[in-house]
Protein backbone atom coordinates (compact mmCIF):
# COMPACT_ATOMS: atom_id res chain seq x y z
CA UNK A 1 0.00 0.00 0.00
CA UNK A 2 1.28 3.47 -0.85
CA UNK A 3 2.35 5.48 2.15
CA UNK A 4 0.89 8.92 2.66
CA UNK A 5 3.08 11.74 4.01
CA UNK A 6 0.82 13.76 6.32
CA UNK A 7 0.86 15.92 9.45
CA UNK A 8 0.30 13.97 12.66
CA UNK A 9 -3.07 15.78 12.81
CA UNK A 10 -4.36 13.44 10.10
CA UNK A 11 -4.02 10.31 12.22
CA UNK A 12 -4.04 11.44 15.84
CA UNK A 13 -5.63 13.87 18.28
CA UNK A 14 -4.40 15.22 21.60
CA UNK A 15 -4.55 17.79 24.38
CA UNK A 16 -1.87 19.82 26.15
CA UNK A 17 -1.64 20.34 29.91
CA UNK A 18 0.75 22.34 32.09
CA UNK A 19 2.51 21.89 35.41
CA UNK A 20 4.99 24.64 36.17
CA UNK A 21 7.31 25.01 33.17
CA UNK A 22 6.55 21.49 31.92
CA UNK A 23 4.03 20.77 29.18
CA UNK A 24 2.44 17.39 28.58
CA UNK A 25 0.89 16.62 25.22
CA UNK A 26 -1.10 13.48 24.51
CA UNK A 27 -1.11 11.90 21.04
CA UNK A 28 -3.97 9.47 20.50
CA UNK A 29 -4.49 7.40 17.36
CA UNK A 30 -7.85 7.81 15.65
CA UNK A 31 -7.56 4.27 14.28
CA UNK A 32 -5.68 1.22 15.61
CA UNK A 33 -3.93 0.95 12.25
CA UNK A 34 -2.04 4.17 13.04
CA UNK A 35 -0.69 2.92 16.39
CA UNK A 36 2.44 1.06 15.21
CA UNK A 37 3.37 4.06 13.06
CA UNK A 38 3.00 6.43 16.01
CA UNK A 39 5.24 4.17 18.10
CA UNK A 40 7.87 4.04 15.38
CA UNK A 41 7.86 7.62 14.09
CA UNK A 42 6.67 9.89 16.90
CA UNK A 43 9.82 9.56 18.96
CA UNK A 44 10.72 11.76 21.94
CA UNK A 45 13.70 13.07 19.96
CA UNK A 46 11.49 14.29 17.13
CA UNK A 47 8.96 15.78 19.55
CA UNK A 48 11.71 17.63 21.41
CA UNK A 49 12.82 19.04 18.06
CA UNK A 50 9.34 20.49 17.47
CA UNK A 51 9.52 22.33 20.82
CA UNK A 52 13.22 23.27 20.67
CA UNK A 53 12.61 26.88 19.57
CA UNK A 54 10.61 27.41 22.79
CA UNK A 55 13.63 26.43 24.88
CA UNK A 56 12.51 22.88 25.68
CA UNK A 57 15.34 20.85 27.16
CA UNK A 58 14.05 17.28 27.53
CA UNK A 59 11.19 15.07 26.40
CA UNK A 60 9.99 11.77 27.85
CA UNK A 61 7.48 9.50 26.10
CA UNK A 62 5.00 7.23 27.89
CA UNK A 63 3.00 4.57 26.06
CA UNK A 64 -0.54 3.35 26.77
CA UNK A 65 -1.10 0.57 24.21
CA UNK A 66 -4.62 -0.25 25.46
CA UNK A 67 -5.70 3.26 24.56
CA UNK A 68 -3.44 3.69 21.51
CA UNK A 69 -2.11 6.76 23.25
CA UNK A 70 1.30 8.33 23.78
CA UNK A 71 2.00 10.96 26.42
CA UNK A 72 4.88 13.38 25.95
CA UNK A 73 6.29 15.28 28.92
CA UNK A 74 8.32 18.22 27.65
CA UNK A 75 10.45 20.16 30.11
CA UNK A 76 11.02 23.92 29.93
CA UNK A 77 8.53 24.19 27.08
CA UNK A 78 6.44 26.97 28.64
CA UNK A 79 8.90 29.86 28.83
CA UNK A 80 8.77 29.88 32.61
CA UNK A 81 5.23 28.60 32.93
CA UNK A 82 1.89 30.24 33.58
CA UNK A 83 3.27 32.69 36.16
CA UNK A 84 6.33 33.86 34.30
CA UNK A 85 5.89 33.68 30.53
CA UNK A 86 5.25 36.81 28.50
CA UNK A 87 3.41 34.77 25.89
CA UNK A 88 -0.28 35.19 25.11
CA UNK A 89 -1.12 31.54 25.80
CA UNK A 90 0.29 31.29 29.29
CA UNK A 91 -0.71 27.64 29.87
CA UNK A 92 0.56 26.46 26.47
CA UNK A 93 -2.88 25.14 25.65
CA UNK A 94 -2.32 25.71 21.91
CA UNK A 95 0.81 23.55 21.88
CA UNK A 96 -1.02 20.30 21.13
CA UNK A 97 -1.69 21.72 17.68
CA UNK A 98 1.95 22.76 17.27
CA UNK A 99 2.86 19.09 17.54
CA UNK A 100 -0.09 17.80 15.51
CA UNK A 101 0.59 20.31 12.74
CA UNK A 102 4.36 20.18 12.44
CA UNK A 103 5.33 16.56 12.95
CA UNK A 104 5.04 14.75 9.60
CA UNK A 105 4.36 11.04 9.49
CA UNK A 106 4.31 8.35 6.77
CA UNK A 107 1.28 6.11 7.11
CA UNK A 108 -0.79 3.72 4.98
CA UNK A 109 -4.16 5.02 3.88
CA UNK A 110 -6.04 2.77 6.31
CA UNK A 111 -4.38 4.58 9.23
CA UNK A 112 -6.34 7.71 8.32
CA UNK A 113 -10.07 7.90 9.18
CA UNK A 114 -12.22 7.43 6.06
CA UNK A 115 -13.91 10.77 6.62
CA UNK A 116 -10.69 12.73 7.12
CA UNK A 117 -10.49 16.00 5.18
CA UNK A 118 -6.87 15.07 4.41
CA UNK A 119 -8.12 12.32 2.07
CA UNK A 120 -10.27 14.67 0.03
CA UNK A 121 -7.78 17.50 -0.27
Amino acid sequence: MTALHLPLHAVAHGRAGDKGDTSNVSVIAYRPQAWPHLLEQVTPERVLGIFAHLGATACRRYELPNLHALNFVIENALQGGVNATLGLDRHGKTLSYLLLGELMIDVPRDAVPDTSPYLTE
Binding site: G20, D21, Y30, Y62, A84, Y97
Partner: protein
Amino acid sequence: MSKTVHIGCGAGFMGDRFDASLPILKSMETRDGPKYLMFEVLAERTLAAAQNLRRDDPDKGYSPYLDHYIRPALARAKALGVTIVSNMGAANPNGAARRVLDIAREFELDDISVATLTGDDLTEIIPTSEIAAMPTMEGIGFEGRPIVAANAYLGARQVAEAIATGADVVLVGRTTDSALALGPLIHEFDWADDDWDRLAQGTVAGHLLECGGQITGCYFADPGFKDVPGLSSAGFPIAECRADGTFTVTKPEYTGGLVNRQTVTEQLLYEMHDPAAYLVPDVILDCSDLQATETAQNRVEITGAKGRPAPETLKCTISVDGGWLGEAFMTYSGPNALARADLAGSIVRERLAAHGMNEPVRIETLGTGATLDGGNAAKRAGRVLPTDGEYTIRVATQSVSREQAQMVVDEMMMLYCSGPAAGGGHRGSVTSQIATASVLIPRERIEPHVKVELFS
Protein backbone atom coordinates in the same frame (compact mmCIF):
# COMPACT_ATOMS: atom_id res chain seq x y z
CA MET B 1 -27.15 -6.32 44.23
CA SER B 2 -24.69 -3.78 45.50
CA LYS B 3 -25.44 -0.09 45.12
CA THR B 4 -24.29 2.30 42.41
CA VAL B 5 -22.99 5.72 43.45
CA HIS B 6 -23.76 8.53 41.02
CA ILE B 7 -21.38 11.50 40.90
CA GLY B 8 -21.98 14.43 38.57
CA CYS B 9 -19.57 17.30 37.99
CA GLY B 10 -21.16 20.74 37.55
CA ALA B 11 -17.98 22.81 37.10
CA GLY B 12 -14.41 22.14 36.05
CA PHE B 13 -12.87 25.55 36.70
CA MET B 14 -13.77 28.79 38.41
CA GLY B 15 -15.47 30.36 35.40
CA ASP B 16 -17.23 27.27 34.09
CA ARG B 17 -20.85 27.25 32.88
CA PHE B 18 -23.07 28.32 35.77
CA ASP B 19 -26.04 26.24 34.53
CA ALA B 20 -24.25 22.95 33.85
CA SER B 21 -25.53 21.35 37.07
CA LEU B 22 -29.20 21.63 36.04
CA PRO B 23 -29.28 18.73 33.52
CA ILE B 24 -27.21 16.66 35.97
CA LEU B 25 -29.80 17.22 38.72
CA LYS B 26 -32.59 16.42 36.25
CA SER B 27 -30.85 13.14 35.47
CA MET B 28 -30.49 12.38 39.19
CA GLU B 29 -34.30 12.28 39.47
CA THR B 30 -34.36 8.84 37.86
CA ARG B 31 -31.22 7.40 39.46
CA ASP B 32 -31.20 5.02 42.42
CA GLY B 33 -28.44 5.04 45.00
CA PRO B 34 -26.32 7.68 46.72
CA LYS B 35 -25.95 10.82 44.60
CA TYR B 36 -23.32 13.54 44.59
CA LEU B 37 -22.76 16.76 42.68
CA MET B 38 -19.20 18.08 42.67
CA PHE B 39 -17.99 21.53 41.63
CA GLU B 40 -14.24 21.94 41.06
CA VAL B 41 -13.46 25.66 40.95
CA LEU B 42 -10.09 26.09 42.64
CA ALA B 43 -6.87 26.57 40.68
CA GLU B 44 -3.60 27.31 42.48
CA ARG B 45 -3.70 30.99 41.64
CA THR B 46 -7.42 31.19 42.42
CA LEU B 47 -6.64 30.11 45.96
CA ALA B 48 -3.95 32.77 46.33
CA ALA B 49 -6.40 35.41 45.10
CA ALA B 50 -8.94 34.12 47.64
CA GLN B 51 -6.36 34.43 50.42
CA ASN B 52 -5.97 38.11 49.51
CA LEU B 53 -9.75 38.56 49.63
CA ARG B 54 -9.88 37.05 53.13
CA ARG B 55 -7.10 39.35 54.29
CA ASP B 56 -9.22 42.32 53.22
CA ASP B 57 -12.44 40.91 54.72
CA PRO B 58 -12.38 37.97 57.18
CA ASP B 59 -15.88 36.89 56.06
CA LYS B 60 -14.70 36.50 52.45
CA GLY B 61 -12.00 34.42 50.81
CA TYR B 62 -14.29 31.69 49.53
CA SER B 63 -14.93 31.33 45.80
CA PRO B 64 -16.35 34.58 44.36
CA TYR B 65 -18.44 32.31 42.13
CA LEU B 66 -20.12 30.46 45.02
CA ASP B 67 -23.48 32.14 44.47
CA HIS B 68 -23.36 31.41 40.73
CA TYR B 69 -23.13 27.66 41.32
CA ILE B 70 -25.00 27.16 44.60
CA ARG B 71 -28.11 29.26 43.95
CA PRO B 72 -29.35 27.30 40.90
CA ALA B 73 -28.57 23.90 42.45
CA LEU B 74 -29.22 24.03 46.19
CA ALA B 75 -32.97 23.48 46.44
CA ARG B 76 -33.10 20.79 43.73
CA ALA B 77 -30.13 18.96 45.22
CA LYS B 78 -31.70 19.02 48.69
CA ALA B 79 -35.03 17.74 47.36
CA LEU B 80 -33.36 14.88 45.48
CA GLY B 81 -30.95 13.94 48.28
CA VAL B 82 -27.93 14.91 46.18
CA THR B 83 -24.95 15.86 48.34
CA ILE B 84 -22.95 18.81 46.99
CA VAL B 85 -19.17 18.49 47.35
CA SER B 86 -16.99 21.42 46.32
CA ASN B 87 -13.73 23.25 46.88
CA MET B 88 -15.58 26.60 46.81
CA GLY B 89 -14.36 26.97 50.38
CA ALA B 90 -11.05 28.18 48.94
CA ALA B 91 -9.24 30.21 51.63
CA ASN B 92 -12.26 30.29 53.94
CA PRO B 93 -14.46 27.15 53.98
CA ASN B 94 -16.26 28.28 57.15
CA GLY B 95 -17.09 31.63 55.56
CA ALA B 96 -18.38 29.74 52.52
CA ALA B 97 -20.57 27.59 54.78
CA ARG B 98 -22.13 30.69 56.34
CA ARG B 99 -22.81 32.07 52.86
CA VAL B 100 -24.52 28.81 51.78
CA LEU B 101 -26.70 28.94 54.90
CA ASP B 102 -27.62 32.55 54.05
CA ILE B 103 -28.72 31.39 50.60
CA ALA B 104 -30.68 28.50 52.14
CA ARG B 105 -32.55 30.90 54.45
CA GLU B 106 -33.32 33.17 51.54
CA PHE B 107 -34.87 30.17 49.74
CA GLU B 108 -36.68 29.16 52.96
CA LEU B 109 -34.76 25.91 53.15
CA ASP B 110 -34.53 25.65 56.93
CA ASP B 111 -32.89 22.23 57.29
CA ILE B 112 -29.70 22.61 55.24
CA SER B 113 -26.46 21.57 56.92
CA VAL B 114 -22.96 22.31 55.67
CA ALA B 115 -19.75 20.50 56.61
CA THR B 116 -16.34 22.11 56.15
CA LEU B 117 -12.85 20.72 55.95
CA THR B 118 -9.97 22.91 57.07
CA GLY B 119 -6.32 22.38 57.91
CA ASP B 120 -4.78 22.80 54.46
CA ASP B 121 -3.49 26.31 55.28
CA LEU B 122 0.20 25.83 56.05
CA THR B 123 0.61 29.35 57.40
CA GLU B 124 -1.47 28.27 60.41
CA ILE B 125 0.78 25.25 61.03
CA ILE B 126 4.34 26.13 60.01
CA PRO B 127 6.20 29.44 60.47
CA THR B 128 6.41 31.31 57.16
CA SER B 129 10.17 31.69 57.56
CA GLU B 130 10.46 27.91 57.54
CA ILE B 131 8.12 27.61 54.52
CA ALA B 132 10.16 30.17 52.60
CA ALA B 133 13.33 28.14 53.16
CA MET B 134 11.90 24.90 51.74
CA PRO B 135 13.34 23.48 48.50
CA THR B 136 10.88 23.96 45.65
CA MET B 137 9.79 21.99 42.60
CA GLU B 138 7.45 22.89 39.71
CA GLY B 139 7.91 26.62 39.79
CA ILE B 140 9.94 29.59 40.91
CA GLY B 141 12.11 30.12 43.92
CA PHE B 142 10.67 32.57 46.43
CA GLU B 143 13.56 35.05 46.30
CA GLY B 144 12.52 36.72 49.51
CA ARG B 145 9.14 37.76 48.21
CA PRO B 146 6.31 37.77 50.77
CA ILE B 147 4.19 34.61 50.89
CA VAL B 148 0.58 35.24 49.87
CA ALA B 149 -0.71 31.70 50.43
CA ALA B 150 0.65 28.27 51.32
CA ASN B 151 -1.65 25.28 51.17
CA ALA B 152 -1.30 21.52 51.32
CA TYR B 153 -3.26 19.26 49.03
CA LEU B 154 -5.40 17.18 51.40
CA GLY B 155 -6.67 13.80 50.28
CA ALA B 156 -9.97 12.01 49.80
CA ARG B 157 -9.88 10.30 53.22
CA GLN B 158 -10.49 13.68 54.87
CA VAL B 159 -13.22 14.57 52.37
CA ALA B 160 -14.93 11.28 53.28
CA GLU B 161 -14.79 12.26 56.97
CA ALA B 162 -16.57 15.52 56.18
CA ILE B 163 -19.21 13.65 54.14
CA ALA B 164 -19.76 11.27 57.08
CA THR B 165 -21.31 14.16 59.04
CA GLY B 166 -24.36 13.69 56.82
CA ALA B 167 -24.24 17.30 55.63
CA ASP B 168 -26.14 18.38 52.51
CA VAL B 169 -23.18 20.44 51.33
CA VAL B 170 -19.49 19.68 51.91
CA LEU B 171 -17.07 22.56 51.38
CA VAL B 172 -13.32 22.14 51.32
CA GLY B 173 -10.35 24.36 50.58
CA ARG B 174 -7.28 22.80 48.99
CA THR B 175 -7.62 19.10 48.33
CA THR B 176 -6.60 17.23 45.23
CA ASP B 177 -9.33 17.84 42.69
CA SER B 178 -9.98 14.12 42.27
CA ALA B 179 -10.69 13.81 46.01
CA LEU B 180 -14.05 15.49 45.39
CA ALA B 181 -15.12 12.19 43.78
CA LEU B 182 -12.91 9.68 45.61
CA GLY B 183 -14.10 11.10 48.97
CA PRO B 184 -17.74 10.16 48.32
CA LEU B 185 -16.66 6.72 47.07
CA ILE B 186 -14.56 6.00 50.17
CA HIS B 187 -17.51 7.05 52.32
CA GLU B 188 -20.12 5.02 50.45
CA PHE B 189 -18.12 1.82 49.87
CA ASP B 190 -16.02 1.96 53.02
CA TRP B 191 -12.82 1.31 51.04
CA ALA B 192 -9.87 0.61 53.33
CA ASP B 193 -6.76 2.81 53.48
CA ASP B 194 -4.74 0.12 51.70
CA ASP B 195 -7.34 -0.98 49.14
CA TRP B 196 -4.98 0.43 46.53
CA ASP B 197 -6.63 -0.78 43.33
CA ARG B 198 -10.08 0.53 44.30
CA LEU B 199 -8.58 3.83 45.50
CA ALA B 200 -6.81 4.00 42.13
CA GLN B 201 -10.05 3.46 40.21
CA GLY B 202 -11.77 6.13 42.32
CA THR B 203 -8.90 8.51 41.62
CA VAL B 204 -9.38 7.94 37.88
CA ALA B 205 -13.09 8.68 38.32
CA GLY B 206 -12.21 11.96 40.01
CA HIS B 207 -9.55 12.85 37.47
CA LEU B 208 -11.96 12.23 34.59
CA LEU B 209 -14.78 14.24 36.24
CA GLU B 210 -12.78 17.15 37.63
CA CYS B 211 -12.63 19.21 34.44
CA GLY B 212 -16.37 19.03 33.86
CA GLY B 213 -17.22 19.13 30.16
CA GLN B 214 -13.66 18.35 29.10
CA ILE B 215 -14.72 14.70 29.06
CA THR B 216 -18.10 15.23 27.39
CA GLY B 217 -16.93 16.82 24.16
CA CYS B 218 -16.06 20.30 25.42
CA TYR B 219 -12.51 21.49 24.71
CA PHE B 220 -12.36 18.68 22.15
CA ALA B 221 -14.11 19.68 18.93
CA ASP B 222 -12.02 20.02 15.75
CA PRO B 223 -14.59 20.41 12.96
CA GLY B 224 -14.24 17.81 10.22
CA PHE B 225 -11.95 15.74 12.43
CA LYS B 226 -13.64 15.56 15.83
CA ASP B 227 -17.21 16.75 15.45
CA VAL B 228 -19.31 17.24 18.59
CA PRO B 229 -23.08 17.74 18.47
CA GLY B 230 -24.80 20.43 20.54
CA LEU B 231 -21.78 22.03 22.16
CA SER B 232 -23.73 25.04 23.37
CA SER B 233 -25.84 22.72 25.53
CA ALA B 234 -23.25 20.04 26.25
CA GLY B 235 -24.11 17.82 29.20
CA PHE B 236 -21.52 17.70 31.96
CA PRO B 237 -20.34 14.27 33.13
CA ILE B 238 -21.86 11.74 35.51
CA ALA B 239 -19.91 8.72 36.76
CA GLU B 240 -21.83 5.62 37.83
CA CYS B 241 -19.51 3.96 40.32
CA ARG B 242 -19.59 0.43 41.70
CA ALA B 243 -18.19 -1.15 44.87
CA ASP B 244 -15.47 -3.02 42.95
CA GLY B 245 -14.11 0.33 41.73
CA THR B 246 -15.26 0.00 38.13
CA PHE B 247 -17.36 2.84 36.80
CA THR B 248 -19.10 4.17 33.72
CA VAL B 249 -18.77 7.75 32.48
CA THR B 250 -21.86 9.19 30.85
CA LYS B 251 -23.79 12.47 30.61
CA PRO B 252 -27.39 13.56 31.21
CA GLU B 253 -30.13 12.62 28.76
CA TYR B 254 -31.25 15.25 26.21
CA THR B 255 -28.01 17.21 26.27
CA GLY B 256 -25.39 17.98 23.66
CA GLY B 257 -21.84 16.80 23.78
CA LEU B 258 -20.25 13.40 23.45
CA VAL B 259 -18.69 10.70 25.64
CA ASN B 260 -16.51 8.16 23.85
CA ARG B 261 -13.05 6.59 24.04
CA GLN B 262 -11.53 9.67 22.42
CA THR B 263 -12.94 12.17 24.91
CA VAL B 264 -12.04 9.89 27.81
CA THR B 265 -8.46 9.32 26.65
CA GLU B 266 -7.79 13.03 26.09
CA GLN B 267 -9.02 13.83 29.58
CA LEU B 268 -7.24 10.88 31.20
CA LEU B 269 -3.86 12.20 30.04
CA TYR B 270 -4.68 15.87 30.68
CA GLU B 271 -2.07 17.29 33.07
CA MET B 272 -0.71 13.79 33.71
CA HIS B 273 2.99 13.01 33.49
CA ASP B 274 3.94 9.34 34.02
CA PRO B 275 0.66 7.39 33.60
CA ALA B 276 2.18 4.59 35.70
CA ALA B 277 2.88 6.89 38.65
CA TYR B 278 0.28 9.60 39.20
CA LEU B 279 0.60 10.74 42.80
CA VAL B 280 -2.32 11.80 44.97
CA PRO B 281 -2.40 11.79 48.79
CA ASP B 282 -4.40 8.54 48.94
CA VAL B 283 -2.63 6.31 46.44
CA ILE B 284 -0.12 6.17 43.58
CA LEU B 285 -2.16 5.53 40.46
CA ASP B 286 -0.97 3.28 37.62
CA CYS B 287 -2.98 3.55 34.39
CA SER B 288 -0.78 1.13 32.40
CA ASP B 289 -3.49 -1.53 32.13
CA LEU B 290 -6.47 0.80 32.15
CA GLN B 291 -9.25 -0.11 29.71
CA ALA B 292 -11.86 2.30 28.33
CA THR B 293 -14.73 0.42 26.70
CA GLU B 294 -17.66 1.98 24.85
CA THR B 295 -20.64 -0.01 26.18
CA ALA B 296 -23.37 2.09 24.53
CA GLN B 297 -23.74 5.53 22.99
CA ASN B 298 -22.24 8.12 25.35
CA ARG B 299 -21.25 5.44 27.86
CA VAL B 300 -17.64 4.43 28.53
CA GLU B 301 -16.73 1.88 31.19
CA ILE B 302 -13.38 2.27 32.96
CA THR B 303 -11.57 -0.73 34.44
CA GLY B 304 -8.03 -1.88 35.14
CA ALA B 305 -6.42 0.99 37.05
CA LYS B 306 -3.94 -0.27 39.64
CA GLY B 307 -2.74 1.36 42.84
CA ARG B 308 0.42 1.37 44.93
CA PRO B 309 0.92 2.61 48.53
CA ALA B 310 0.29 6.31 49.06
CA PRO B 311 3.21 8.77 49.12
CA GLU B 312 4.77 9.77 52.45
CA THR B 313 4.63 13.47 51.62
CA LEU B 314 1.89 15.88 50.61
CA LYS B 315 2.33 18.37 47.81
CA CYS B 316 1.91 21.96 48.92
CA THR B 317 1.56 25.08 46.79
CA ILE B 318 3.29 28.25 47.91
CA SER B 319 2.14 31.51 46.32
CA VAL B 320 4.13 34.73 46.38
CA ASP B 321 3.60 38.20 44.95
CA GLY B 322 4.45 38.07 41.24
CA GLY B 323 4.49 41.78 40.43
CA TRP B 324 2.51 43.26 37.55
CA LEU B 325 1.68 42.14 34.02
CA GLY B 326 1.19 44.92 31.46
CA GLU B 327 -0.32 43.75 28.21
CA ALA B 328 -1.83 45.61 25.24
CA PHE B 329 -3.11 45.01 21.73
CA MET B 330 -3.68 47.03 18.53
CA THR B 331 -5.10 45.66 15.29
CA TYR B 332 -4.42 46.41 11.62
CA SER B 333 -6.66 45.20 8.78
CA GLY B 334 -6.87 45.20 5.01
CA PRO B 335 -4.14 45.93 2.42
CA ASN B 336 -0.57 45.80 3.78
CA ALA B 337 -1.84 45.05 7.31
CA LEU B 338 1.17 42.90 8.18
CA ALA B 339 3.67 45.66 7.36
CA ARG B 340 1.69 48.23 9.35
CA ALA B 341 1.43 45.90 12.37
CA ASP B 342 5.15 45.10 12.28
CA LEU B 343 5.94 48.83 12.03
CA ALA B 344 3.75 49.51 15.07
CA GLY B 345 5.75 46.92 16.99
CA SER B 346 9.06 48.51 16.11
CA ILE B 347 7.80 52.00 17.06
CA VAL B 348 6.76 50.75 20.49
CA ARG B 349 10.03 48.91 20.98
CA GLU B 350 12.06 52.05 20.21
CA ARG B 351 9.95 54.25 22.46
CA LEU B 352 10.09 51.83 25.39
CA ALA B 353 13.86 51.66 25.06
CA ALA B 354 14.05 55.48 24.99
CA HIS B 355 11.97 55.61 28.17
CA GLY B 356 14.43 53.33 29.95
CA MET B 357 12.25 50.24 30.11
CA ASN B 358 14.52 47.69 31.77
CA GLU B 359 12.24 44.64 31.89
CA PRO B 360 12.02 42.01 29.14
CA VAL B 361 9.30 43.03 26.68
CA ARG B 362 7.53 40.66 24.32
CA ILE B 363 6.39 42.25 21.07
CA GLU B 364 4.67 39.93 18.64
CA THR B 365 2.29 39.99 15.72
CA LEU B 366 -0.76 37.80 16.23
CA GLY B 367 -1.86 36.13 13.03
CA THR B 368 1.68 35.01 12.21
CA GLY B 369 1.78 31.95 14.48
CA ALA B 370 2.85 33.98 17.50
CA THR B 371 1.33 31.71 20.14
CA LEU B 372 3.47 28.84 18.86
CA ASP B 373 6.76 30.62 18.26
CA GLY B 374 7.87 31.55 21.76
CA GLY B 375 8.26 35.23 20.98
CA ASN B 376 11.22 34.76 18.67
CA ALA B 377 9.26 34.70 15.39
CA ALA B 378 10.82 31.31 14.71
CA LYS B 379 7.63 30.18 13.00
CA ARG B 380 7.72 33.13 10.57
CA ALA B 381 11.17 32.39 9.23
CA GLY B 382 10.98 30.98 5.73
CA ARG B 383 7.21 31.40 5.52
CA VAL B 384 5.52 33.76 3.14
CA LEU B 385 2.60 35.30 5.02
CA PRO B 386 -0.14 37.25 3.28
CA THR B 387 0.61 40.96 3.65
CA ASP B 388 -3.09 41.75 3.36
CA GLY B 389 -5.43 40.51 6.04
CA GLU B 390 -5.83 41.16 9.74
CA TYR B 391 -2.96 41.25 12.21
CA THR B 392 -2.83 42.26 15.86
CA ILE B 393 0.28 43.60 17.50
CA ARG B 394 0.66 42.48 21.11
CA VAL B 395 3.09 43.83 23.67
CA ALA B 396 3.60 42.39 27.15
CA THR B 397 5.92 42.87 30.08
CA GLN B 398 6.07 41.72 33.67
CA SER B 399 7.59 43.90 36.37
CA VAL B 400 7.68 44.50 40.10
CA SER B 401 7.01 48.11 39.11
CA ARG B 402 3.42 48.91 38.27
CA GLU B 403 4.63 52.01 36.38
CA GLN B 404 6.79 49.93 34.03
CA ALA B 405 3.85 47.65 33.30
CA GLN B 406 1.60 50.63 32.69
CA MET B 407 4.12 52.13 30.25
CA VAL B 408 3.48 49.28 27.81
CA VAL B 409 -0.26 49.90 27.84
CA ASP B 410 0.19 53.65 27.42
CA GLU B 411 2.62 53.37 24.51
CA MET B 412 0.26 51.03 22.69
CA MET B 413 -2.62 53.46 23.23
CA MET B 414 -0.49 56.26 21.70
CA LEU B 415 -0.44 54.32 18.42
CA TYR B 416 -3.98 55.60 17.91
CA CYS B 417 -2.69 58.99 16.76
CA SER B 418 1.06 58.43 16.34
CA GLY B 419 1.36 54.93 14.94
CA PRO B 420 1.05 53.54 11.40
CA ALA B 421 -2.16 54.16 9.46
CA ALA B 422 -5.47 52.84 10.71
CA GLY B 423 -4.67 50.99 13.91
CA GLY B 424 -7.83 50.15 15.81
CA GLY B 425 -9.24 48.20 18.73
CA HIS B 426 -6.65 49.05 21.38
CA ARG B 427 -7.06 46.99 24.52
CA GLY B 428 -4.73 47.08 27.47
CA SER B 429 -4.58 46.03 31.09
CA VAL B 430 -2.26 46.02 34.07
CA THR B 431 -2.97 43.15 36.45
CA SER B 432 -1.33 41.97 39.66
CA GLN B 433 0.32 38.59 39.43
CA ILE B 434 0.82 35.61 41.70
CA ALA B 435 3.80 33.30 41.33
CA THR B 436 3.64 29.76 42.68
CA ALA B 437 5.96 26.92 43.53
CA SER B 438 5.45 23.48 45.02
CA VAL B 439 7.07 21.87 48.03
CA LEU B 440 6.71 18.41 49.58
CA ILE B 441 5.97 18.12 53.31
CA PRO B 442 5.69 14.94 55.42
CA ARG B 443 2.00 14.22 55.94
CA GLU B 444 2.38 13.79 59.72
CA ARG B 445 3.09 17.50 59.99
CA ILE B 446 -0.21 18.43 58.36
CA GLU B 447 -2.85 15.76 58.86
CA PRO B 448 -3.20 16.14 62.68
CA HIS B 449 -4.40 19.73 62.05
CA VAL B 450 -7.23 18.74 59.69
CA LYS B 451 -10.63 19.61 61.11
CA VAL B 452 -14.23 18.84 60.14
CA GLU B 453 -16.96 21.22 61.36
CA LEU B 454 -20.71 21.13 60.85
CA PHE B 455 -22.81 24.27 60.33
CA SER B 456 -26.61 24.41 60.29
